[in-house]
Subunit: 309 residues, 2 copies
Protein backbone atom coordinates (compact mmCIF):
# COMPACT_ATOMS: atom_id res chain seq x y z
CA UNK A 1 0.00 0.00 0.00
CA UNK A 2 1.20 3.47 -0.82
CA UNK A 3 1.12 5.55 2.29
CA UNK A 4 3.48 8.51 2.28
CA UNK A 5 1.72 11.50 0.79
CA UNK A 6 3.55 13.58 -1.74
CA UNK A 7 4.35 17.17 -1.07
CA UNK A 8 2.65 18.79 -4.08
CA UNK A 9 5.20 19.79 -6.72
CA UNK A 10 4.88 21.45 -10.07
CA UNK A 11 5.49 19.08 -12.94
CA UNK A 12 8.24 18.74 -13.92
CA UNK A 13 10.43 20.31 -11.28
CA UNK A 14 14.18 20.62 -11.62
CA UNK A 15 16.19 20.46 -8.44
CA UNK A 16 17.96 23.83 -8.48
CA UNK A 17 20.97 22.41 -6.68
CA UNK A 18 21.74 19.62 -9.06
CA UNK A 19 24.77 20.03 -11.31
CA UNK A 20 24.12 21.49 -14.73
CA UNK A 21 23.69 18.92 -17.45
CA UNK A 22 26.31 20.94 -19.31
CA UNK A 23 28.87 19.46 -16.94
CA UNK A 24 31.40 17.74 -19.24
CA UNK A 25 31.28 14.59 -17.09
CA UNK A 26 27.55 14.15 -17.53
CA UNK A 27 27.79 11.49 -20.17
CA UNK A 28 30.25 9.34 -18.24
CA UNK A 29 28.53 9.41 -14.83
CA UNK A 30 25.77 6.78 -14.66
CA UNK A 31 22.33 8.28 -14.25
CA UNK A 32 19.38 6.34 -12.95
CA UNK A 33 15.67 6.67 -13.33
CA UNK A 34 13.16 6.10 -10.56
CA UNK A 35 9.40 5.66 -10.65
CA UNK A 36 7.36 5.56 -7.48
CA UNK A 37 3.81 4.39 -8.07
CA UNK A 38 1.32 5.60 -5.50
CA UNK A 39 -2.44 5.44 -5.35
CA UNK A 40 -2.87 9.15 -6.09
CA UNK A 41 0.45 10.20 -7.67
CA UNK A 42 3.40 8.76 -9.52
CA UNK A 43 6.78 10.23 -8.68
CA UNK A 44 9.57 10.24 -11.25
CA UNK A 45 13.22 11.02 -10.69
CA UNK A 46 16.40 11.04 -12.74
CA UNK A 47 19.73 11.29 -11.01
CA UNK A 48 22.11 9.66 -8.62
CA UNK A 49 20.87 10.75 -5.19
CA UNK A 50 18.94 13.34 -3.22
CA UNK A 51 21.42 16.12 -4.01
CA UNK A 52 21.66 15.25 -7.66
CA UNK A 53 18.26 14.55 -9.15
CA UNK A 54 15.39 15.99 -11.08
CA UNK A 55 11.94 15.20 -9.70
CA UNK A 56 8.47 15.25 -11.18
CA UNK A 57 5.06 13.97 -10.32
CA UNK A 58 2.13 12.76 -12.34
CA UNK A 59 -1.43 12.07 -11.14
CA UNK A 60 -2.46 8.41 -10.97
CA UNK A 61 -5.31 7.84 -13.42
CA UNK A 62 -5.71 4.92 -15.84
CA UNK A 63 -2.57 2.91 -16.59
CA UNK A 64 -2.39 3.95 -20.28
CA UNK A 65 -2.61 7.66 -19.52
CA UNK A 66 -0.37 7.68 -16.47
CA UNK A 67 2.26 5.49 -18.07
CA UNK A 68 2.31 7.60 -21.24
CA UNK A 69 3.23 10.63 -19.16
CA UNK A 70 5.82 8.69 -17.18
CA UNK A 71 7.45 7.41 -20.36
CA UNK A 72 7.36 10.90 -21.87
CA UNK A 73 9.20 12.26 -18.82
CA UNK A 74 12.08 9.85 -19.41
CA UNK A 75 12.05 10.07 -23.23
CA UNK A 76 12.41 13.83 -23.22
CA UNK A 77 15.53 13.72 -21.08
CA UNK A 78 18.98 12.26 -21.45
CA UNK A 79 18.88 8.48 -21.40
CA UNK A 80 19.29 6.71 -18.09
CA UNK A 81 21.28 3.52 -17.54
CA UNK A 82 18.54 1.72 -15.62
CA UNK A 83 15.18 2.40 -14.02
CA UNK A 84 13.91 1.33 -10.62
CA UNK A 85 10.22 1.03 -9.83
CA UNK A 86 8.84 1.37 -6.29
CA UNK A 87 5.23 0.32 -6.46
CA UNK A 88 2.12 0.10 -4.35
CA UNK A 89 1.07 -3.53 -4.01
CA UNK A 90 0.51 -6.30 -3.86
CA UNK A 91 3.18 -6.88 -6.50
CA UNK A 92 5.37 -9.71 -7.68
CA UNK A 93 8.99 -8.70 -7.02
CA UNK A 94 10.50 -12.15 -7.60
CA UNK A 95 12.70 -12.04 -10.72
CA UNK A 96 12.26 -15.79 -11.20
CA UNK A 97 8.47 -15.62 -11.26
CA UNK A 98 6.52 -15.46 -14.55
CA UNK A 99 4.60 -12.51 -13.05
CA UNK A 100 7.75 -10.61 -12.07
CA UNK A 101 7.19 -6.90 -12.41
CA UNK A 102 3.40 -7.10 -12.24
CA UNK A 103 1.06 -5.34 -9.89
CA UNK A 104 -1.06 -8.33 -8.84
CA UNK A 105 -4.21 -8.39 -6.71
CA UNK A 106 -4.52 -4.69 -5.95
CA UNK A 107 -7.98 -3.30 -5.12
CA UNK A 108 -7.19 -0.55 -7.71
CA UNK A 109 -8.89 -2.55 -10.45
CA UNK A 110 -7.48 -0.69 -13.45
CA UNK A 111 -3.98 -1.61 -12.31
CA UNK A 112 -4.64 -5.22 -11.46
CA UNK A 113 -2.35 -7.61 -13.38
CA UNK A 114 -0.54 -4.68 -14.96
CA UNK A 115 2.92 -5.61 -16.26
CA UNK A 116 4.58 -2.52 -14.86
CA UNK A 117 8.23 -3.49 -15.27
CA UNK A 118 7.58 -4.92 -18.74
CA UNK A 119 5.86 -1.73 -19.90
CA UNK A 120 8.79 0.40 -18.80
CA UNK A 121 11.41 -1.95 -20.21
CA UNK A 122 9.69 -2.17 -23.59
CA UNK A 123 9.19 1.59 -23.84
CA UNK A 124 12.64 2.69 -22.73
CA UNK A 125 14.89 -0.27 -23.49
CA UNK A 126 16.81 -0.21 -20.23
CA UNK A 127 17.11 -2.71 -17.35
CA UNK A 128 14.31 -2.35 -14.80
CA UNK A 129 14.40 -3.13 -11.07
CA UNK A 130 11.10 -3.63 -9.27
CA UNK A 131 10.14 -3.69 -5.59
CA UNK A 132 7.60 -2.40 -3.11
CA UNK A 133 7.36 1.30 -2.26
CA UNK A 134 8.25 0.53 1.36
CA UNK A 135 11.27 -1.61 0.50
CA UNK A 136 12.44 1.20 -1.79
CA UNK A 137 11.94 3.76 0.97
CA UNK A 138 13.92 1.51 3.31
CA UNK A 139 16.73 1.35 0.79
CA UNK A 140 16.76 5.14 0.35
CA UNK A 141 16.80 5.78 4.10
CA UNK A 142 19.71 3.35 4.40
CA UNK A 143 21.62 4.97 1.53
CA UNK A 144 21.03 8.65 2.25
CA UNK A 145 18.76 9.04 5.28
CA UNK A 146 18.12 8.09 8.88
CA UNK A 147 19.47 4.55 8.57
CA UNK A 148 22.68 5.36 6.73
CA UNK A 149 25.21 2.57 7.09
CA UNK A 150 22.92 0.20 9.02
CA UNK A 151 22.76 -3.41 7.90
CA UNK A 152 19.52 -4.36 9.68
CA UNK A 153 16.64 -1.97 10.06
CA UNK A 154 12.97 -1.54 9.25
CA UNK A 155 11.20 1.28 7.52
CA UNK A 156 7.62 1.46 8.78
CA UNK A 157 5.00 3.88 7.55
CA UNK A 158 1.83 4.67 9.48
CA UNK A 159 -0.68 6.61 7.42
CA UNK A 160 -3.68 5.55 5.35
CA UNK A 161 -2.31 2.05 5.83
CA UNK A 162 0.41 0.55 7.95
CA UNK A 163 3.26 -1.31 6.32
CA UNK A 164 6.97 -1.72 6.21
CA UNK A 165 10.07 -2.77 4.38
CA UNK A 166 13.17 -4.35 5.82
CA UNK A 167 16.85 -4.33 5.12
CA UNK A 168 18.24 -7.29 7.09
CA UNK A 169 21.89 -8.37 6.98
CA UNK A 170 22.37 -5.75 4.26
CA UNK A 171 19.66 -7.01 1.90
CA UNK A 172 16.06 -6.07 1.21
CA UNK A 173 13.81 -8.81 2.48
CA UNK A 174 11.19 -10.42 0.26
CA UNK A 175 10.34 -13.97 1.23
CA UNK A 176 7.66 -15.66 -0.85
CA UNK A 177 6.09 -12.38 -1.89
CA UNK A 178 6.77 -9.33 0.27
CA UNK A 179 6.21 -8.17 3.81
CA UNK A 180 2.78 -7.19 5.08
CA UNK A 181 3.90 -6.14 8.51
CA UNK A 182 0.79 -4.10 9.27
CA UNK A 183 -1.44 -7.16 9.33
CA UNK A 184 0.04 -8.85 12.40
CA UNK A 185 -2.32 -9.47 15.30
CA UNK A 186 -1.55 -7.68 18.57
CA UNK A 187 -3.22 -7.79 21.99
CA UNK A 188 -6.39 -5.70 21.90
CA UNK A 189 -7.68 -4.78 25.34
CA UNK A 190 -11.36 -4.16 24.64
CA UNK A 191 -11.92 -2.71 28.10
CA UNK A 192 -9.48 0.07 27.27
CA UNK A 193 -10.31 0.26 23.55
CA UNK A 194 -13.77 -0.99 22.54
CA UNK A 195 -13.17 0.02 18.88
CA UNK A 196 -13.49 -3.20 16.87
CA UNK A 197 -10.81 -2.30 14.30
CA UNK A 198 -11.45 -1.48 10.66
CA UNK A 199 -9.23 -3.72 8.53
CA UNK A 200 -11.60 -5.19 5.94
CA UNK A 201 -9.76 -8.52 6.16
CA UNK A 202 -8.83 -8.83 9.83
CA UNK A 203 -10.79 -6.17 11.78
CA UNK A 204 -8.35 -5.67 14.66
CA UNK A 205 -4.98 -6.45 13.14
CA UNK A 206 -2.39 -3.72 13.79
CA UNK A 207 -3.38 -1.74 10.69
CA UNK A 208 -7.05 -2.03 11.68
CA UNK A 209 -6.28 -0.59 15.12
CA UNK A 210 -3.51 1.92 14.47
CA UNK A 211 -3.48 3.30 10.89
CA UNK A 212 -4.88 6.78 10.25
CA UNK A 213 -8.41 5.64 9.34
CA UNK A 214 -8.66 3.65 12.61
CA UNK A 215 -7.75 6.76 14.59
CA UNK A 216 -10.36 8.77 12.71
CA UNK A 217 -13.09 6.16 13.10
CA UNK A 218 -12.35 5.48 16.77
CA UNK A 219 -12.30 9.10 17.89
CA UNK A 220 -14.66 10.64 15.33
CA UNK A 221 -12.12 13.00 13.87
CA UNK A 222 -8.86 12.87 11.97
CA UNK A 223 -5.72 12.35 14.03
CA UNK A 224 -4.19 15.65 13.01
CA UNK A 225 -7.15 17.43 14.67
CA UNK A 226 -6.68 15.68 18.02
CA UNK A 227 -4.67 17.62 20.62
CA UNK A 228 -1.37 16.28 21.92
CA UNK A 229 -2.82 15.41 25.35
CA UNK A 230 -5.67 13.36 23.85
CA UNK A 231 -5.71 9.71 25.02
CA UNK A 232 -5.54 8.71 21.35
CA UNK A 233 -1.77 9.10 21.43
CA UNK A 234 -1.04 6.85 24.39
CA UNK A 235 -3.22 4.19 22.80
CA UNK A 236 -1.55 4.69 19.41
CA UNK A 237 1.88 4.37 21.05
CA UNK A 238 0.74 1.18 22.78
CA UNK A 239 -0.29 -0.49 19.52
CA UNK A 240 2.77 0.64 17.62
CA UNK A 241 5.00 -0.55 20.48
CA UNK A 242 3.32 -3.97 20.38
CA UNK A 243 3.98 -4.09 16.65
CA UNK A 244 7.58 -3.10 17.14
CA UNK A 245 8.06 -5.83 19.74
CA UNK A 246 6.77 -8.45 17.29
CA UNK A 247 8.91 -7.17 14.44
CA UNK A 248 11.95 -6.92 16.71
CA UNK A 249 11.63 -10.51 17.94
CA UNK A 250 11.09 -11.73 14.36
CA UNK A 251 13.66 -9.64 12.46
CA UNK A 252 16.17 -8.33 15.02
CA UNK A 253 16.60 -4.83 13.54
CA UNK A 254 19.02 -2.29 15.02
CA UNK A 255 16.74 0.63 14.19
CA UNK A 256 13.17 1.21 13.12
CA UNK A 257 12.54 4.31 11.00
CA UNK A 258 8.90 5.34 11.31
CA UNK A 259 7.33 7.64 8.74
CA UNK A 260 3.93 8.37 7.25
CA UNK A 261 1.28 10.91 8.16
CA UNK A 262 0.49 9.59 11.65
CA UNK A 263 4.16 9.71 12.65
CA UNK A 264 4.26 13.42 11.98
CA UNK A 265 2.96 13.62 15.56
CA UNK A 266 6.45 13.84 17.00
CA UNK A 267 5.25 13.22 20.54
CA UNK A 268 4.65 9.61 19.50
CA UNK A 269 8.38 8.83 19.25
CA UNK A 270 9.26 9.08 22.97
CA UNK A 271 5.99 7.42 23.99
CA UNK A 272 6.69 4.48 21.69
CA UNK A 273 10.33 4.13 22.75
CA UNK A 274 9.41 4.03 26.44
CA UNK A 275 6.70 1.44 25.88
CA UNK A 276 8.88 -0.78 23.67
CA UNK A 277 11.55 -0.89 26.37
CA UNK A 278 8.93 -1.76 29.01
CA UNK A 279 7.48 -4.54 26.86
CA UNK A 280 10.88 -6.06 25.96
CA UNK A 281 11.76 -5.84 29.66
CA UNK A 282 15.49 -6.32 29.27
CA UNK A 283 15.23 -9.56 27.32
CA UNK A 284 16.33 -7.92 24.07
CA UNK A 285 17.95 -4.58 23.47
CA UNK A 286 15.25 -2.22 22.15
CA UNK A 287 15.84 -0.94 18.61
CA UNK A 288 16.30 2.77 18.12
CA UNK A 289 13.10 4.36 16.85
CA UNK A 290 13.71 7.31 14.56
CA UNK A 291 11.86 9.58 12.14
CA UNK A 292 12.86 9.33 8.45
CA UNK A 293 15.17 11.91 6.92
CA UNK A 294 14.03 11.79 3.30
CA UNK A 295 10.36 12.47 3.97
CA UNK A 296 8.06 12.31 0.97
CA UNK A 297 10.94 11.63 -1.41
CA UNK A 298 12.07 8.38 0.24
CA UNK A 299 10.09 6.24 -2.20
CA UNK A 300 11.23 7.79 -5.45
CA UNK A 301 14.80 8.06 -4.21
CA UNK A 302 14.55 4.41 -3.27
CA UNK A 303 13.48 3.75 -6.84
CA UNK A 304 16.71 5.22 -8.21
CA UNK A 305 18.60 3.28 -5.55
CA UNK A 306 16.91 0.08 -6.77
CA UNK A 307 18.16 0.99 -10.26
CA UNK A 308 21.72 1.11 -8.97
CA UNK A 309 22.29 4.65 -7.66
CA UNK B 1 17.20 -21.81 23.71
CA UNK B 2 17.81 -25.50 23.11
CA UNK B 3 14.51 -27.18 22.70
CA UNK B 4 14.59 -30.36 20.64
CA UNK B 5 15.26 -33.28 22.93
CA UNK B 6 17.85 -35.82 21.93
CA UNK B 7 16.91 -39.36 21.28
CA UNK B 8 19.32 -41.13 23.67
CA UNK B 9 22.22 -42.67 21.79
CA UNK B 10 25.23 -44.63 22.87
CA UNK B 11 28.44 -42.67 22.72
CA UNK B 12 29.99 -42.69 20.16
CA UNK B 13 27.67 -44.25 17.62
CA UNK B 14 28.75 -45.04 14.09
CA UNK B 15 26.11 -44.84 11.43
CA UNK B 16 26.15 -48.35 10.04
CA UNK B 17 25.17 -47.12 6.60
CA UNK B 18 27.94 -44.63 6.10
CA UNK B 19 30.68 -45.55 3.63
CA UNK B 20 33.68 -47.28 5.08
CA UNK B 21 36.59 -44.99 5.78
CA UNK B 22 38.65 -47.48 3.80
CA UNK B 23 37.01 -46.13 0.68
CA UNK B 24 39.91 -44.93 -1.52
CA UNK B 25 38.13 -41.58 -2.12
CA UNK B 26 37.83 -40.78 1.57
CA UNK B 27 40.77 -38.43 1.67
CA UNK B 28 39.63 -36.35 -1.30
CA UNK B 29 35.98 -35.88 -0.24
CA UNK B 30 35.67 -32.93 2.16
CA UNK B 31 34.41 -33.95 5.58
CA UNK B 32 32.83 -31.58 8.02
CA UNK B 33 32.44 -31.54 11.76
CA UNK B 34 29.32 -30.39 13.57
CA UNK B 35 28.73 -29.55 17.22
CA UNK B 36 25.27 -28.89 18.55
CA UNK B 37 25.31 -27.40 22.02
CA UNK B 38 22.20 -28.03 24.05
CA UNK B 39 21.35 -27.46 27.68
CA UNK B 40 21.55 -31.13 28.59
CA UNK B 41 23.58 -32.70 25.76
CA UNK B 42 26.14 -31.82 23.13
CA UNK B 43 25.78 -33.56 19.80
CA UNK B 44 28.82 -34.16 17.60
CA UNK B 45 28.88 -35.29 14.00
CA UNK B 46 31.47 -35.88 11.31
CA UNK B 47 30.41 -36.34 7.75
CA UNK B 48 28.72 -34.77 4.79
CA UNK B 49 25.02 -35.36 5.42
CA UNK B 50 22.41 -37.54 7.14
CA UNK B 51 23.33 -40.63 5.13
CA UNK B 52 27.04 -40.17 5.55
CA UNK B 53 27.92 -39.21 9.09
CA UNK B 54 29.08 -40.50 12.43
CA UNK B 55 27.18 -39.16 15.43
CA UNK B 56 27.94 -38.97 19.12
CA UNK B 57 26.60 -37.21 22.16
CA UNK B 58 28.17 -35.89 25.31
CA UNK B 59 26.40 -34.67 28.47
CA UNK B 60 26.48 -30.92 29.09
CA UNK B 61 28.37 -30.27 32.32
CA UNK B 62 31.01 -27.56 32.92
CA UNK B 63 32.59 -26.02 29.82
CA UNK B 64 36.08 -27.43 30.50
CA UNK B 65 34.87 -31.00 30.93
CA UNK B 66 32.32 -30.99 28.11
CA UNK B 67 34.64 -29.29 25.67
CA UNK B 68 37.50 -31.69 26.47
CA UNK B 69 35.27 -34.57 25.43
CA UNK B 70 34.06 -32.77 22.31
CA UNK B 71 37.62 -32.02 21.25
CA UNK B 72 38.65 -35.59 21.96
CA UNK B 73 35.87 -36.84 19.69
CA UNK B 74 37.29 -34.86 16.77
CA UNK B 75 40.97 -35.46 17.58
CA UNK B 76 40.56 -39.22 17.60
CA UNK B 77 39.08 -39.25 14.10
CA UNK B 78 40.29 -38.26 10.66
CA UNK B 79 40.70 -34.49 10.42
CA UNK B 80 37.75 -32.45 9.20
CA UNK B 81 37.98 -29.47 6.85
CA UNK B 82 35.81 -27.19 8.96
CA UNK B 83 33.51 -27.31 11.97
CA UNK B 84 30.09 -25.78 12.42
CA UNK B 85 28.65 -24.99 15.83
CA UNK B 86 24.90 -24.80 16.48
CA UNK B 87 24.51 -23.38 19.94
CA UNK B 88 21.88 -22.60 22.54
CA UNK B 89 21.78 -18.88 23.13
CA UNK B 90 21.83 -16.05 23.38
CA UNK B 91 24.99 -16.05 21.29
CA UNK B 92 26.91 -13.60 19.11
CA UNK B 93 26.82 -14.96 15.54
CA UNK B 94 28.10 -11.78 13.88
CA UNK B 95 31.56 -12.45 12.36
CA UNK B 96 32.38 -8.73 12.55
CA UNK B 97 31.71 -8.47 16.28
CA UNK B 98 34.51 -8.74 18.85
CA UNK B 99 32.34 -11.27 20.70
CA UNK B 100 31.74 -13.43 17.61
CA UNK B 101 31.52 -17.05 18.55
CA UNK B 102 30.66 -16.41 22.21
CA UNK B 103 27.72 -17.65 24.16
CA UNK B 104 26.66 -14.35 25.75
CA UNK B 105 23.99 -13.70 28.39
CA UNK B 106 22.74 -17.25 28.89
CA UNK B 107 21.11 -18.14 32.21
CA UNK B 108 23.46 -21.20 32.24
CA UNK B 109 26.04 -19.30 34.26
CA UNK B 110 29.03 -21.59 33.66
CA UNK B 111 28.68 -20.99 29.93
CA UNK B 112 28.15 -17.25 30.05
CA UNK B 113 30.74 -15.35 27.98
CA UNK B 114 32.28 -18.61 26.81
CA UNK B 115 34.33 -18.22 23.61
CA UNK B 116 32.90 -21.33 22.02
CA UNK B 117 34.11 -20.83 18.44
CA UNK B 118 37.54 -19.68 19.65
CA UNK B 119 37.98 -22.75 21.86
CA UNK B 120 37.20 -25.10 18.97
CA UNK B 121 39.36 -23.21 16.49
CA UNK B 122 42.35 -23.12 18.83
CA UNK B 123 42.05 -26.81 19.73
CA UNK B 124 41.48 -28.18 16.23
CA UNK B 125 43.03 -25.61 13.92
CA UNK B 126 40.18 -25.53 11.39
CA UNK B 127 37.74 -22.82 10.30
CA UNK B 128 34.67 -22.61 12.53
CA UNK B 129 31.14 -21.45 11.62
CA UNK B 130 28.81 -20.43 14.42
CA UNK B 131 25.06 -19.91 14.61
CA UNK B 132 21.99 -20.65 16.71
CA UNK B 133 20.68 -24.19 17.10
CA UNK B 134 17.41 -23.19 15.43
CA UNK B 135 19.08 -21.51 12.45
CA UNK B 136 21.21 -24.62 12.04
CA UNK B 137 18.13 -26.83 12.21
CA UNK B 138 16.49 -24.61 9.59
CA UNK B 139 19.51 -25.03 7.35
CA UNK B 140 19.51 -28.81 7.76
CA UNK B 141 15.78 -29.10 7.01
CA UNK B 142 16.32 -27.00 3.89
CA UNK B 143 19.29 -29.10 2.78
CA UNK B 144 18.06 -32.60 3.57
CA UNK B 145 14.63 -32.44 5.18
CA UNK B 146 11.10 -31.09 4.98
CA UNK B 147 12.08 -27.77 3.39
CA UNK B 148 14.39 -29.12 0.71
CA UNK B 149 14.86 -26.60 -2.07
CA UNK B 150 12.82 -23.82 -0.46
CA UNK B 151 14.30 -20.34 -0.42
CA UNK B 152 12.06 -18.85 2.28
CA UNK B 153 10.85 -20.84 5.25
CA UNK B 154 10.88 -20.91 9.01
CA UNK B 155 11.91 -23.67 11.36
CA UNK B 156 9.97 -23.30 14.61
CA UNK B 157 10.39 -25.50 17.64
CA UNK B 158 7.81 -25.74 20.41
CA UNK B 159 9.10 -27.55 23.45
CA UNK B 160 10.67 -26.37 26.70
CA UNK B 161 10.85 -23.03 24.95
CA UNK B 162 9.49 -21.66 21.70
CA UNK B 163 11.84 -20.30 19.10
CA UNK B 164 12.73 -20.33 15.48
CA UNK B 165 15.22 -19.82 12.73
CA UNK B 166 14.60 -18.48 9.26
CA UNK B 167 15.97 -19.00 5.81
CA UNK B 168 14.68 -16.07 3.77
CA UNK B 169 15.60 -15.44 0.15
CA UNK B 170 18.04 -18.33 0.51
CA UNK B 171 19.97 -16.98 3.50
CA UNK B 172 19.85 -17.56 7.22
CA UNK B 173 18.49 -14.46 8.90
CA UNK B 174 20.33 -12.80 11.76
CA UNK B 175 19.65 -9.09 12.04
CA UNK B 176 21.36 -7.32 14.91
CA UNK B 177 21.70 -10.47 16.97
CA UNK B 178 19.37 -13.36 16.16
CA UNK B 179 15.67 -14.10 16.07
CA UNK B 180 13.66 -14.54 19.25
CA UNK B 181 10.39 -15.39 17.55
CA UNK B 182 8.83 -16.97 20.61
CA UNK B 183 8.69 -13.68 22.49
CA UNK B 184 6.19 -11.89 20.26
CA UNK B 185 2.98 -10.74 21.92
CA UNK B 186 -0.28 -12.27 20.68
CA UNK B 187 -3.92 -11.64 21.58
CA UNK B 188 -4.66 -13.34 24.91
CA UNK B 189 -8.38 -13.78 25.57
CA UNK B 190 -8.47 -14.02 29.36
CA UNK B 191 -12.11 -15.07 29.34
CA UNK B 192 -11.16 -18.18 27.39
CA UNK B 193 -7.73 -18.62 28.98
CA UNK B 194 -7.25 -17.09 32.44
CA UNK B 195 -3.69 -18.51 32.69
CA UNK B 196 -1.42 -15.48 33.11
CA UNK B 197 1.49 -16.90 31.10
CA UNK B 198 4.82 -18.01 32.53
CA UNK B 199 7.57 -16.26 30.59
CA UNK B 200 9.83 -14.77 33.27
CA UNK B 201 10.36 -11.66 31.12
CA UNK B 202 6.99 -11.10 29.44
CA UNK B 203 4.40 -13.33 31.20
CA UNK B 204 2.01 -13.84 28.28
CA UNK B 205 4.22 -13.62 25.23
CA UNK B 206 3.76 -16.56 22.85
CA UNK B 207 6.37 -18.69 24.64
CA UNK B 208 4.73 -17.86 27.98
CA UNK B 209 1.36 -19.07 26.67
CA UNK B 210 2.23 -21.92 24.33
CA UNK B 211 5.55 -23.63 25.16
CA UNK B 212 5.52 -26.97 26.98
CA UNK B 213 5.86 -25.54 30.51
CA UNK B 214 2.87 -23.22 29.89
CA UNK B 215 0.74 -26.22 28.91
CA UNK B 216 1.85 -28.07 32.01
CA UNK B 217 1.23 -25.13 34.36
CA UNK B 218 -2.14 -24.20 32.83
CA UNK B 219 -3.63 -27.69 32.91
CA UNK B 220 -1.77 -29.18 35.87
CA UNK B 221 -0.13 -31.95 33.90
CA UNK B 222 2.37 -32.36 31.10
CA UNK B 223 1.02 -32.04 27.57
CA UNK B 224 1.92 -35.58 26.63
CA UNK B 225 -0.46 -36.82 29.34
CA UNK B 226 -3.44 -34.82 28.04
CA UNK B 227 -5.83 -36.73 25.73
CA UNK B 228 -6.30 -35.67 22.14
CA UNK B 229 -9.81 -34.31 22.76
CA UNK B 230 -8.66 -32.10 25.65
CA UNK B 231 -9.40 -28.37 25.10
CA UNK B 232 -5.67 -27.75 25.57
CA UNK B 233 -5.06 -28.57 21.92
CA UNK B 234 -7.54 -26.14 20.39
CA UNK B 235 -6.09 -23.41 22.58
CA UNK B 236 -2.53 -24.43 21.69
CA UNK B 237 -3.43 -24.35 17.98
CA UNK B 238 -4.97 -20.90 18.43
CA UNK B 239 -1.80 -19.44 19.95
CA UNK B 240 0.52 -21.10 17.45
CA UNK B 241 -1.70 -19.91 14.58
CA UNK B 242 -1.53 -16.35 15.92
CA UNK B 243 2.24 -16.64 16.03
CA UNK B 244 2.35 -18.02 12.50
CA UNK B 245 0.22 -15.11 11.26
CA UNK B 246 2.66 -12.60 12.76
CA UNK B 247 5.70 -14.39 11.37
CA UNK B 248 4.05 -14.77 7.98
CA UNK B 249 3.21 -11.07 7.71
CA UNK B 250 6.71 -10.15 8.83
CA UNK B 251 8.84 -12.70 6.92
CA UNK B 252 6.66 -14.04 4.08
CA UNK B 253 7.79 -17.69 4.29
CA UNK B 254 6.52 -20.33 1.87
CA UNK B 255 6.54 -23.03 4.54
CA UNK B 256 6.84 -23.30 8.30
CA UNK B 257 8.42 -26.48 9.63
CA UNK B 258 7.31 -27.05 13.23
CA UNK B 259 9.23 -29.38 15.48
CA UNK B 260 9.93 -29.84 19.18
CA UNK B 261 8.25 -31.98 21.81
CA UNK B 262 4.85 -30.25 21.75
CA UNK B 263 4.57 -30.69 17.97
CA UNK B 264 4.81 -34.45 18.37
CA UNK B 265 1.04 -34.15 18.93
CA UNK B 266 0.30 -34.65 15.25
CA UNK B 267 -3.32 -33.56 15.63
CA UNK B 268 -2.00 -30.02 16.09
CA UNK B 269 -0.95 -29.69 12.43
CA UNK B 270 -4.44 -29.71 10.84
CA UNK B 271 -5.87 -27.57 13.67
CA UNK B 272 -3.14 -24.96 13.17
CA UNK B 273 -3.44 -24.95 9.37
CA UNK B 274 -7.20 -24.39 9.50
CA UNK B 275 -6.88 -21.57 12.02
CA UNK B 276 -4.04 -19.83 10.13
CA UNK B 277 -6.16 -19.78 6.97
CA UNK B 278 -9.12 -18.36 8.92
CA UNK B 279 -6.98 -15.66 10.50
CA UNK B 280 -5.29 -14.63 7.23
CA UNK B 281 -8.75 -14.60 5.65
CA UNK B 282 -7.60 -14.59 2.04
CA UNK B 283 -5.36 -11.55 2.38
CA UNK B 284 -2.17 -13.60 2.13
CA UNK B 285 -1.68 -17.16 0.98
CA UNK B 286 -1.18 -19.30 4.09
CA UNK B 287 2.23 -20.95 4.37
CA UNK B 288 2.38 -24.73 4.37
CA UNK B 289 2.83 -26.06 7.90
CA UNK B 290 4.82 -29.26 8.06
CA UNK B 291 6.56 -31.51 10.57
CA UNK B 292 10.37 -31.72 10.32
CA UNK B 293 11.99 -34.70 8.64
CA UNK B 294 15.30 -34.79 10.46
CA UNK B 295 13.88 -34.97 13.97
CA UNK B 296 16.37 -34.83 16.79
CA UNK B 297 19.33 -34.72 14.41
CA UNK B 298 18.32 -31.49 12.66
CA UNK B 299 20.57 -29.37 14.89
CA UNK B 300 23.78 -31.36 14.58
CA UNK B 301 23.22 -31.93 10.86
CA UNK B 302 22.70 -28.18 10.58
CA UNK B 303 26.03 -27.73 12.29
CA UNK B 304 27.82 -29.71 9.56
CA UNK B 305 25.81 -27.75 6.99
CA UNK B 306 27.05 -24.52 8.58
CA UNK B 307 30.58 -25.88 8.17
CA UNK B 308 30.00 -26.31 4.45
CA UNK B 309 28.41 -29.73 3.98
Amino acid sequence: MRIISWVPLLYPVGDSERPSTKNPYTKTVPRFGGIEAGGSKFGCAIGAGPEDAEFAEIPTTAPAETMARVIEFFRTREPVDAIGIASFGPIDPNPKSPAFGYITSTPKLAWRNFDFAGAVRRALGVPVAFDTDVNAAALAESRWGAARGLRSFLYVTVGTGLGGGALIDGRLLHGRQHLEMGHIRVPHDRARDPFAGNCPYHSDCLEGLAAGPAIQERWGQAGHLLPGEHPAWDLEAEYLALGIVSWTCTLSPETIVMGGGVMQREELFPKISVRVAELLNGYLEPPKILPPKLGARAGVLGAIALAGA
